[in-house]
């Protein structure tokens, strides 16, 4: 997919004037925030679980090589295959090769952000393979030729009426006069259409919420059961996951599962939690003949040992974006690549470079609401600041901002000089404010006054007045 993160500002202006998008974003509070709050309030040990989850991931990341090798060994023992992909291109080629050698025409897909990260659908289509998204949200945006705007609710930017229109446009084999108003009707129609696809598919691709080193299993959570049909019915099951998805044991995965759905959708558990270990065994009534895992690095191993390592704890629950005022304002597409919101603001520069993704960690008020809800206690604002530091070190931020900051800092580091200029400038600015005591426009303050009045200074600075008060006190006491 085309990266538009460098034009984040332009994207966000567009998003702010998109009435349909703004209407859809209005549902985020009731849909995610309130439900999460209720679920968390009902579990007294939630914060203790967060500590546990963090510790599990920190431990795993400290020994990532070891656990990945152990995982590979267990997958092989269960009859599966592990493919190591250093780059997105490597991952695409591995999957394309599997499709070619197995004569695959149709691929069903469970929801996977890694698939988006490596732009798999485009690659499959180019190779003459038809990808069919089976997650309802992913299915809808595939019909529209769009990309997910949210990591767990890919179509959250759409309204029901838009989806109805898409279904009528594409599902032309169904009666034109059918009723499609309620959510359930839309869901039922999508399920019926997809049901046929599951049986046509030669290969099924799922992501993974966890890879378990102890057993060589992959775990996915879904609410629609589409993941199960995607991985059980075709001849070949391919799991595509990034390397930081590994946890040591099933018990570890179970601990983190208690955090995942609560943080994401406010459910105690997702409707389906599916554990797969290898392909079909002789005694199994069904399942794929082959089981493959594509392990993607794509820049993650270079985050280890840096100030961005903690980002690799992320379990992709989406709580950070659900609680982000910037995400609420502009939605996910404005971020210009796969991962939006606060987690995207940290991860995107790691994966595509801060020269392209630099806007994202800058477009934050540092309100800290993301960190306060993150089940893995990832210090997102701190890491966004680290990106700003890297930008500053490399001189990537705009010259005007840089020089403005440097000249401000020159004075801020010299209190007497600072005070000298303030003692003239501030009373003068105060006078300029007139009887209205505020400015509707001021040179160099256009970013502020475009949308708001600028309060005028009261008069002399505090430090001026304080010095006078102290001098008076001295006089009185002497």
């Amino acid at each position: 997919m085309q990266i538009t993160s460098p034009s984040f500002k332009k994207n966000s202006v567009q998003a702010l004037s998109d009435a349909q998008l703004q209407k859809a974003l209005g549902n985020v509070r009731a849909g995610f925030i309130d439900k999460r709050t209720k679920a968390v309030d009902a579990l007294p040990e939630f914060d203790a679980l967060r500590d546990n989850g963090k510790a599990i991931k920190d431990h795993t990341l400290a020994h990532l090589d070891l656990y990945l090798e152990a995982y590979e060994e267990q997958v092989k023992k269960a009859g599966g295959h592990v493919h190591w992909a250093q780059t997105a291109e490597d991952a695409r080629n591995i999957i394309l090769d599997l499709c070619k050698t197995r004569g695959v025409k149709t691929v069903t897909k469970g929801k996977s952000m890694i698939s988006e990260e490596i732009a798999l659908n485009d690659a499959l289509e180019e190779a003459g393979v038809r990808p069919v998204e089976t997650d309802l949200g992913e299915y809808i945006i595939q019909l529209r030729g769009e990309h997910p705007s949210h990591i767990i609710a890919p179509a959250v930017h759409l309204n029901k009426e838009q989806i109805e229109a898409d279904f009528r446009r594409v599902h032309t084999h169904l009666p034109a006069d059918r009723k499609l108003v309620e959510h359930e009707k839309l869901l039922t129609e999508a399920r019926a259409v997809l049901r046929a696809e599951y049986f046509k598919a030669d290969l099924g691709i799922t992501g993974a919420n966890f890879l378990v080193a102890e057993t060589g299993s992959s775990i996915i959570v879904t609410n629609e059961g589409n993941g199960d049909l995607t991985q059980i019915l075709p001849r070949v099951h391919v799991v595509i996951a990034s390397i930081e998805k590994v946890v040591p044991t099933l018990e570890d995965a179970a601990q983190i599962l208690r955090l995942l759905a609560r943080s994401a959708t406010g459910q105690e558990m997702s409707v389906y939690t599916t554990v797969s270990t290898g392909g079909r065994r002789e005694s199994d009534p069904d399942g794929p003949d082959e089981y493959h895992v594509v392990l993607l690095d794509n820049g993650r191993s270079s985050m280890l040992g840096t100030e961005f390592q903690e980002m690799l704890r992320c379990i992709r629950c989406g709580a950070c974006m659900n609680h982000c005022p910037v995400y609420h304002a502009v939605g996910g597409h404005a971020y210009g690549w796969v991962y939006p919101g606060p987690m995207g603001a940290v991860l995107t520069p790691s994966l595509i470079g801060v020269d392209k993704g630099g806007h994202l960690p800058n477009a934050s008020t540092f309100c800290g609401r993301c960190e306060s809800v993150c089940p893995m206690r990832i210090p997102l604002p701190k890491m966004m600041r680290h990106w700003r530091e890297r930008e500053f070190e490399r001189g990537l931020n705009p010259a005007v901002a840089r020089y403005g900051l440097k000249s401000w800092a020159f004075f801020a580091r010299r209190p007497r000089l600072y005070r000298f200029f303030a003692s003239f400038g501030i009373p003068a600015l105060s006078m300029l404010g007139g009887a209205k005591r505020r400015f509707s426009w001021l040179p160099f303050a256009g970013g502020w006054t475009k949308y708001r009045e600028l309060p005028a200074p009261e008069g002399r600075t505090f430090m001026q007045q304080w010095a006078q008060r102290e001098a008076l006190k001295q006089e009185v006491s002497s």
Binding site: V326, S372, R385, F392, A412, R419, G447
Partner: protein, 257 residues
């Protein structure tokens, strides 16, 4: 007499740059509140700004220099108090992180950090004052500024003290704990997004049915006041310290004389 003076907590007021330049009355309200609570308050001249504009723009070198000057200026005090959750958190939480591994400054920043408080939480939690001697006939709504709320745990303290102001009613707004869109340089760098966020905020403020908006951070207050005034609202905007100190004779933020 000599002995009494010594047992009074000696507080260094970190004025904050916005209060110093734009709204000195907040600084005097802070001094009054602390003096009334039995502190002796001084204001070191060698202070400018906490350094957040540099820190949040990725300029660590300038931030460190500003931090060193601030730490040195306040080392003699028992307490360092700022009428801002954001600046207090910068001094308390972020200064130590700037000097991790520094042989001299890590421990100096650590010692300094222990003495730093935001004004209202200092009054309520450290000095344990139960109420204030102030009157105001108004209905106010209170906005929780982000850094104070999430980095310093300031939520109940201002509400508790405001309840003791005679004649003052509190009308809570929806999403009082959601950012107002100020974010320091964010509000000018991403003014369109900032505007969308503050517009949601002012709509929540209007719906609350209050005639006054209070908060503990002047940056947020100037942002919300500026937006309310652009929208033609008559809601008065003030720093919480002004109301607690009973010093509301000055015009409100951005308000007419």
């Amino acid at each position: 007499m000599q002995h009494q003076v010594k047992t009074r907590p000696h507080v260094g007021l970190f004025v904050t740059c916005l209060v110093d330049l734009f709204r000195p009355s907040v600084g005097f309200a802070a001094v009054k509140l602390m003096e009334d609570a039995g502190c002796s308050v001084d204001v070191p001249a060698a202070q400018t700004c906490c350094g957040q504009p540099a820190y949040n723009s990725g300029d660590r070198d300038d931030t460190r220099e500003i931090a060193k000057a601030t730490i040195a200026a306040f080392e003699e005090f028992d307490y360092v108090v700022a009428p801002s959750g954001s600046c207090a958190s910068m001094l308390k939480k972020h200064y130590p992180a700037l000097f991790t591994g520094d042989a001299v400054w890590e421990s100096r920043a650590g010692e300094f950090s222990k003495k730093v408080h935001e004004l209202v939480s200092f009054l309520a939690d450290e000095l344990r004052i139960q109420g204030v001697d102030a009157k105001l006939s108004a209905t106010a709504t209170y906005h929780d500024s982000c850094s104070g709320l999430r980095e310093l745990g300031i939520r109940d303290q201002p509400r508790k003290l405001l309840q003791s102001v005679e004649g003052l009613k509190i009308a809570e707004m929806e999403e009082a704990d959601v950012c107002c869109g100020f974010g320091g340089t964010f509000c000018v760098k991403y003014s369109d997004i900032s505007n969308a966020i503050v517009t949601k905020k002012t709509s929540n403020i209007e719906v609350a049915g209050a005639d006054m908006l209070l908060a503990g951070d002047l940056g947020c207050l100037m942002n919300m006041a500026g937006k309310l005034q652009r929208e033609g609202s008559a809601i008065e905007v003030r720093h919480v310290a002004e109301v607690l100190a009973g010093m509301t004779d000055q015009p409100p933020v951005g308000g007419k004389l």
